[in-house]
Amino acid sequence: MAVAVGRTYHAPASLDEAIALLAELGNDAGVVAGGTDLVVAARGGRRQLPTALVAIHRLSELATIEGSPFGGLALGALVTHADLERSDLVRRRWTALADAAALVGSPATRHVGTLGGNLCNASPAMESGAPLLVYDASVELRSASGTRGLPLADFLLGPARTALAPGELLTGVTVPPQPAGRVGSAYLRLDYRASMEIAVVGAAVLVALDADGRCTEARIALTAVAPTVVRAADAETALRGQLPTTERVAAAAARAAAAARPIDDVRATARYRTAMVPVIVRRAIEAALKRAEEEAA
């Protein structure tokens, strides 16, 4: 219950200050934004708080949602789930991400929980991961020695493991423009309760349709069925270049199971998770297709 004492606290006022602090504190440093993962884990006794807490909530420059000139998207690390849920731009163009943000925890968790925190916590059940994978997003990592970009898929290494190096801060997420054609994307989660859930199985899907209604692009990512959120390449291949008939959609969804390596845990058996992947993927494809078709207007 009690959170251990004897640590230091830093609340940098600027990004440069934050980066300098992280360089100075090295391995001792741990970044806290909304605290919805870090502080909860510490209170539950699962993980100690870091020795040096670097609170980045004051870095307002990281709280921005911006469209880029050619139709891409730039998200600051401090953008909250509620920001994503409410942003017109995200709701209009990046619907899978808006879907996911609206599903996170409670209203309170959505208000304080951040995109950067969600990614750095690296839970296989994270909501924002699968949508960003289908948007081919990259994370921006900044340190005293410079800035590097890394595809999200390469950033997430396993449960609670990322490619973040000591001294580095995840400052934002960049998303390239969406593919040509009518594009639709959706994120769907299997929910036991109507609210306050954590993913047992989730799926994000992006499809692009040409004038004939053929899938010129299909991207599919899964939540909570592998050590990280993962793309389901076989399923994508099964859909790409095809007319998305009911049968083809179902067949593609069935092939998504190949990407799943689920475990038995308190929330579900591995068998159940494996069986749910095609169901949830199929529904997510259908939702994405519906949105793509509505683009026609």
Binding site: A2, G44, A268
Partner: protein, 759 residues
């Protein structure tokens, strides 16, 4: 029943609760107060090889460290005296307390716990209650024969309470049956989950200790303290500040003695506050996991002619109230049906799980869920409508209960018809939807109660009882009873309660007994004041007391309301004349109905069900066949509580019971991995949220009980939680064509049942 009762009112403890002024046990702070922490075993079964607290004692800021060696060796328990305050030689569940620490800060107390050196020799845990009953099975309590137990409890090895009901001739019944239907159902353990975790604060003054506790039962808690610490009752005062819910989880005696012993050793006040994990793993009032098997013989016309049931209740590491709850379970396994021939057997089985006990309507929801699915299965076999089959067998006035009691006017049939009417039974439904019904019954619990009322000189009154307000409003409602009897506005009545030094003995907020018992005491005490006021007013008005009534703060002539005298004036005058107007009531408890008595074994507390309440719920669900996810769209409830005295309060109990029941149905189950709970937190032990709640429709059936509580009322708190899970189960079966025989009916289990598997 007129001016006050039956209307909506605002409870007296409401304002402090909405403003944050209401203090709960964890909010209390005393000067010099230390913080307690427990070292729990963390493993389900082990022999204690070594327990060395010297390093913890040496830590600066630690003022007391206690183990079983530091307190009297006293075994205690509600039904069987099978436990000690701290683990003694062996560990029987993961939450067993090895040692307790009092230190200056919570952080220091935790550190001290980590400094305690423990060597445990792990033993294979006993987790399968059926295997535990087999001859030669490892014993959870090797010394069980040395324990004392309440008279009449039948024990044998891991079975700490065998109970049965034997009625008629079961073999002849089966011989006369056209169809015999069998079924087996398994329910996981679940938890009461009050939002307020346990907390205790103890302070000694000389030889007396005051303990502020989150108990639902201050007097049984005091009994536990006096017994385990070998103190006289006069030396112990248990006070409950506001209580943040209990649902049975705070019944009996828990950690009051540990904290009092720490405070005595440290010579300082000590406070203990549980976290949520402890609330799950270290308390001892979980809802029993059960295994229920039924075999029922019926005639083609739908008449039940033979009913056999076997129940196994997993009581966990200690008996707590287990044997008594098994008694209740056998009554629930009969259900509110006519049974000419019946054999029900119940066993209370030790395991190395967290102890089970008195969670709201103990055994009720699980056994009702099993029985009512079985009843649906019988109706299906006979090709009868499920409402019709129940109507053909449900009990009514003049019928005989399972143990031979004769029912007076009751509303079982009417409650069932109300639930069916409210849900629109039989109407066409969209594909994927299903509707289910379930009926049940529950007892009122006659017991001793006392009340003292003082009429103040300004005509207000103070009602003093030993009753405990768990949040349900039953103690708040006592003001209504006094107000009705004394002709006062409820706001003019203040209440003193949940303090063992103030009120008379009370069995607490358990068994839905507060209004039933304490309410009668309030009426008796009110009657004395009323009589005195009537006589004084009669003198003044030169009238016959029989012609007067107490209404709206005055005593007045019934036929001439203008002839009146103000009650406040009478009270003031009496005091000025040297007389205080007080009333005291401790009426005898209603008698248990006559029953078969001797022909049944293990019947200690429930030879019959006194003033039983009857009820039925109906549910409409939508099942996602691909995922097994069930959404409950609608619940309708018909309840007979004798008479409803406080509608807003009773509605609140029914709505809360339904939603609690939905949790039991769908999402609340304790998951064990090798004897340790794998979901001791609210993310994975899932309560229903505001967003999950379906539309609820409620109807009350009026059937005042001759031998009931005030105005013929019956216990209200527990019945509403009983039939919801059963109604949902039957609705799932109606929607899908398959029965889910494992509770809770999680998506994984519904999906597996649809796939023809047993999850």
């Amino acid at each position: 029943m007129s001016r006050v009762l039956g209307r909506r009112f605002v409870r007296a403890d409401g304002l402090p609760k909405v403003t944050g002024q209401a203090r709960y046990a964890a909010d209390l702070v005393l000067p010099g107060m230390l913080h307690a922490a427990f070292l729990h075993a963390g493993v389900p079964r082990a022999r204690i090889r070594r327990l060395d607290v010297s390093a913890a004692r040496a830590l600066p800021g630690v003022l007391a460290v206690l183990t079983q060696d530091d307190v009297p060796f006293v075994r205690f328990g509600a039904a069987v005296e099978d436990r000690t305050l701290f683990a003694h030689e062996v560990v029987r569940f993961e939450g067993e307390i090895l040692a307790a620490v009092a230190a200056l800060t919570p952080e220091l107390a935790d550190r001290a716990c980590r400094l305690i050196e423990v060597e445990l020799e792990a033993l294979p845990p006993v987790l399968d209650p059926e295997a535990a009953l087999a001859p030669g099975a490892p014993l959870v309590h090797e010394d069980w024969q040395d324990y004392s137990a309440n008279d009449g409890i039948v024990r044998d090895g891991n079975d700490c309470g065998f109970v049965n009901i034997v009625k008629g001739d079961i073999e002849a019944g089966f011989a006369a049956a056209d169809e015999i239907v069998e079924g087996r159902y398994v329910a996981d353990m679940s938890h009461p989950v009050p939002i307020e975790p346990h907390a205790v604060l103890a302070q000694w003054e000389g030889d007396r200790v005051t303990v502020w506790s989150t108990t639902q039962t201050p007097f049984p808690a005091r009994n536990g303290l006096t017994r385990t610490l070998e103190l006289p009752e006069s030396a112990v005062r248990v006070v409950v500040p506001h209580l943040g819910g209990g649902f049975g989880g705070k019944c009996e005696f828990h950690f009051e003695a540990h904290v009092a012993a720490l405070a005595r050793a440290a010579r300082r006040p000590v406070r203990l506050v549980f976290d949520r994990r402890q609330e799950f793993t270290a308390t001892d009032m979980a809802r029993h996991g059960i295994i229920a098997t039924f075999r029922t013989g019926v005639r083609r016309d739908g008449t039940i002619v033979a009913h056999e049931a076997s129940l196994i209740l997993d009581t966990g590491a200690y008996a707590t109230h287990g044997p008594v709850i098994t008694e209740i379970a056998t009554m629930m396994a009969a259900g509110p049906y006519r049974h000419p021939n019946m054999l029900v057997e119940g066993r209370t089985v030790y395991s190395n799980r967290t102890p089970a006990g008195s969670t709201r309507a103990p055994s009720g929801p699980q056994v009702c869920w099993a029985l009512e699915q079985h009843v649906d299965a019988i109706a299906e076999r006979l090709g009868l409508d499920k409402l019709e089959f129940r109507l053909r067998n449900i009990v009514a006035e003049g019928d005989e209960g399972p143990t031979g009691q004769r029912f007076e006017k009751i509303g079982a049939r009417e409650s069932l018809l109300e639930a069916a009417r409210l849900i629109g039974w039989g109407r066409p439904l969209p594909p994927g939807d299903g509707m289910g019904l379930a009926v049940g019954w529950w007892f009122s619990a006659p017991g001793p109660a006392g009340c003292y009322i003082k009429l103040n000189a300004d005509g207000s009154a103070t009602v003093v009882t030993g009753a405990q307000e768990n949040g349900s409003g039953s103690v708040m409602g006592l003001a209504l009873l006094a107000a009705e009897e004394l002709g006062l506005a409820p706001e003019r009545i203040s209440l003193v309660y949940q303090d063992t030094d103030a009120g008379a003995f009370d069995s607490g907020s358990s068994g839905s007994q507060t209004t039933f018992n304490v309410g009668r005491a309030v009426l008796a005490a009110s009657a004395q004041i009323r009589d005195r006021l009537l006589r004084m007013a009669a003198d003044e008005l030169e009238a016959n007391p029989l012609d007067l009534e107490l209404v709206e703060g005055v005593v007045r002539a019934k036929d001439a309301p203008g002839r009146s005298v103000v009650i406040a004036a009478l009270a003031r005058r009496a005091q000025d004349d040297g007389e205080l107007i007080t009333g005291q009531g401790n009426p005898p408890a209603p008698k248990m109905p006559d029953s078969l008595g001797g022909s049944c074994a293990g019947r200690v507390a429930f030879p019959a069900f006194a003033a039983p309440a009857f009820f039925a719920h109906a549910a409409r669900v939508r099942v996602d066949r691909e995922t097994g996810v069930v959404r409950v769209l609608e619940v309708a409830a018909g309840h007979e509580f004798g008479r409803v005295l406080n509608p807003i309060g009773v509605e609140g109990q029914v709505e809360g019971g339904i939603v609690h029941g939905l949790g039991i149905a769908l999402s609340e189950g304790t998951v064990f991995r090798d004897g340790n709970q794998a979901n001791p937190h609210l993310l994975d032990y899932k309560l229903q949220t505001a967003a999950d709640v379906p539309a609820m429709k409620i109807a009350f059936v009026d059937a005042p009980a001759a031998d009931g509580g005030p105005y013929g009322s019956k216990g209200v708190g527990e019945p509403p939680v009983v039939p919801t899970a059963a109604a949902v189960a039957n609705a799932i079966a109606a929607a899908t064509g398959v029965r889910v025989r494992h509770l809770p009916m999680t998506p994984v289990r519904v999906w597996a049942a649809l796939a023809g598997e047993d999850a």
